[in-house]
Point group: C2
């Protein structure tokens, strides 16, 4: 995937580091970010907050908000991206939240957020396809969003 190779290359050149906070993708974004050899210069770590308890524990998301939203909202995704950046002391924090399905009214609804020193952006999208497709496509879209955020900040 060209944009992944491009992203890692530009991050290395600019000495920028990344951390993640993932829910429905459950590690797939972090796996992608480390596909290239030498990615330890860029990727520092991530937290997989698959449960509401984990979202509360690591990112202090209040339980009433978690219960109301099932842990999925623009606000929560931004908090996770900002939090990942802070916890791992990286230049960039990225988060993925959503409903991977296959059951439920909101299947395919995902939020991707990317934070850097200039602030945080969040994209809300609906991804069509199987559970696996939703998780993988969202992870690839997060790569693009990180790339755009990095390039726009240079």
């Amino acid at each position: 995937m060209r944009s992944l190779a491009n992203l890692i290359s530009i991050l290395k050149t600019k000495n920028l580091t990344v951390a993640t906070a993932e829910s429905c993708s459950s590690g797939y974004l972090s796996y992608l970010l480390t596909k290239t050899a030498g990615s330890s210069k860029v990727f520092k770590g991530g937290i997989i907050v698959y449960s509401l308890e984990a979202k509360n524990k690591f990112f202090k998301i209040p339980y009433p908000l978690l219960r109301k939203t099932q842990g999925v909202s623009s606000e929560i995704s931004k908090t996770l991206a900002l939090g990942a950046r802070k916890i791992f002391k990286t230049d960039i924090g990225a988060s993925i939240l959503g409903f991977a399905g296959p059951e439920g009214k909101k299947v395919g609804l995902v939020y991707i957020a990317v934070a850097n020193k200039t602030g945080v952006i969040c994209k809300k999208m609906v991804i069509k396809g199987s559970r696996d497709t939703v998780r993988k496509k969202t992870s690839f879209l997060a790569i693009k969003l990180i790339y755009n955020k990095v390039v726009s900040s240079l």
Copy 2:
């Protein structure tokens, strides 16, 4: 993959939960553990400790040991599996550490550890193949090891 489906099924039936701590696999094991719909009943979360700083921060591995071992040893993998179980308050904790390569003398050397209430086991292996093969094969082997640990404890 039959053993993955078997594992999730048996964990659901027995009401057992899992958490992870991953280094070289960087989320791939956690991605596998959530491939099945409804896996949120089983998988609670994970920490991707790709950097030495993250291994120290989340699992209190001392820096002298991290520097001496490059963050990869039987002792560290056990600490990570036990720690994941404790941090996420799950029945089972699983960890993966290793050298995915493609460069370096120890490429393919990996440690997988699985902890439950009876203790912790650790397997040291050398996996042949590309960087991606090492990461994926190790994750699938971790699934098997969790399965064996669960079945042997029933």
